[in-house]
Amino acid sequence: MEWLIWLIPLLPFVGFLLNVFVIRHERPAGLVASGLVAASFVVAVTAIAMLAGLPEEERRIISVGWEWINAGDLRVPFGIMLDPLSAVMVLLVTGVGALIHFYSIGYMHGDARVVRYFAYLNLFVTMMLFLVMGNNMLILFLGWEGVGLCSFLLIGHWFERKSAAAAAVKAFVVNRIGDAAFILAMLAIYANFGTLNFYEVTVAGEVQPGFLERVPEIIGQSFGPSWQPIALATGISFLLLIGATGKSAQFPLFVWLPDAMAGPTPVSALIHAATMVTGGVYMMTRTEALFAASPATQTWVLWVGALTALIAGTAAIAQWDIKRVLAYSTVSQLGFMVAACGMGAYVAAIFHLLTHGIFKALLFLGSGSVIHGTHDTQDMRKMGGLRTAMPTTYWTYLVGAGALAGIVPLAGFWSKDEILAHALSHNHWPQLIILFLTSLLTAFYMGRQVALVFFGTQRDTHYHAHESGRVMTVPLIVLAVGAVIGGAINLPWGHWLTDWLHPVLHEEAGSFNPVLALIATAGAVGMSYLGWWLYTSNAAKVKVGGKDPAYRYTGDIWDGLEEAWYVDRLYERVIVQPFRGLGDFLARVFDPQGIDGLVLGIGRFFGWAGAQVRELQSGYVRTYALVFTAGVVLVLSFMLIFTR
């Protein structure tokens, strides 16, 4: 029965191979790719059903393929596993993934390299599945970098555009910075536990231990310089945090996600909303034992999450590009999840991850349908009044916006509320205030976006807006339904998810706090109405290419927000320029003149010495005789000294 779980990642991989080597035309490519991901979803559901059948403590299917690395004492098996946590993630990845594949058939219709696009998409799903199903850190890392590669390929799908190419490279490099920290963490884990496997696994008859249960062993140990010893658990978990910030676009390393919008919209929906960026949260949840072992890192995680939420939230308000609003919103919501992990509310984080995956995918696909309908305009200043032209998109988009803002019956409310409730009950007061403020901002910018896109009149009349085809609207509707009933996954009373994840995360369900829920909903409704009202009443002030009406009140701060507090420009000046300068200095000056100069200098010195010897050879016999006599005198004087 173990081989079944191999089918989940291998089906999309077969799709990838087919699209790369066999399929040449658009029609079969789309169908094969989407079909295989859907098949993988079906297999996943059956596997999870079987998993559910098992008694609670045995809910873990581990299957080892072969012995990947066996260099001396470093032994790493190539194996995958399915347990409640990864089951939930697999469902999200394959479910939302299948929908986005079908959507792409419509969206990418007529693209020059559509076959290659579907190949990359399938490869991405395979890698994401390895990430969530890996049974040791190295397989997780294989998926981790694999999705980084696919995001590079997919962002750079239209590589003719300079911006897309630059964004792709930027995404991969920034991810790589996080991955470097991840590698260091893995090295430390292996050095201290002797294994990278999460749980005990038998490989070729030999039992290899897991390290998750043995984390308490390293609580006391510390490393680092004697004058400033650092607790080992803190060191490892801090490195994992940096890795997660790289992948899940958290505060220091979030600059690549907004630029990643240069890729096709389904890619943004799948990779930069639902699946890849949540990899970091999944990793932190999986290795929560390490984080629990070091309170210092917990507070770091908390603050990183909260700050990212705030910064991204403020940045989202001032964006004009429809997708960049959603990009910053994703960063902000990820901040929520990371904050939840920081508070120890891992179930809340996963719950928010799932609901966010659904409604953010819905929003992105909705914006894709809008872009598709308005002939590739992404600037909201050129839109307006599209609710009549694109009714289905409008209604599904409204549902999604409501879910994101956290209006009561929709999914977003329940998951966000659980995080806020957990913060309140564990009195993390500063984070609670920041997160609450951010949820208000979220409601505001969603209201603003709905108003700018769907209400008022169509500002730029060069295009005739039309509704997208059924292949695009059906996924929208399915996702809208999901956004509505999504909250049911972990209602405060039923908390099905908490029980389901109990064998992995061992958390007790938090109590529902009606007062907080009321305040949050009131805030959400109020702010979204404010956003909607501001941008419908001042619709006339919004000019194509003009400034935001709010600019009058806030002035340059508004531009600061648009540039996400100039963090990107700071990196450009503080890191990228000096690096290029150093590179040029080393390559042009230090290497050719410095080291090479030394080497050639030795050569020239011998050349000069040779010239001196030839100078001595003057050609006069008497000088030769003189040198001869000098030699004689030397030898004889040595003899005299010798014989004294």
């Binding site: 030839r614 050879q617 003057s618 050609g619 006069y620 016999v621 008497r622 005789a625 003189l626």
Partner: protein, 100 residues
């Protein structure tokens, strides 16, 4: 009986004069004479030691040295004539085209 050391001192003096002659004088013929002087200084020393040791070997050696000196001078003067014919000079320093 004159002690041998006087002879040796004389031969050393002769030898140094010969060496200086080669170093200082520019005319090839004088250089040859200086070399002859050095060789004869050696002969003197040989004879002095032979007398002191009353062994005939030393004196026999002198003949070898004399014959070799003669051969050398013969070839040397022949060469000098050849050079004089082409370069009309016997100055040793004139003959210095080969260098470096």
């Amino acid at each position: 009986m004159v002690p041998t050391s006087y002879y040796i001192l004389l031969s050393a003096a002769l030898f140094t004069i010969g060496v200086l002659g080669v170093l200082i004088r520019r005319n090839a013929i004088v250089v040859f004479m200086a070399v002859e002087l050095m060789l004869n200084a050696a002969n003197l020393a040989l004879v002095a030691y032979a007398r002191e040791r009353l062994s005939i070997d030393g004196q026999v050696l002198v003949f070898f040295v004399i014959t070799v000196a003669a051969a050398e001078v013969a070839v040397g003067l022949a060469l000098l004539v050849a050079i004089f014919r082409t370069k009309r000079t016997t100055d040793v320093d004139e003959v210095s085209t080969l260098r470096g």
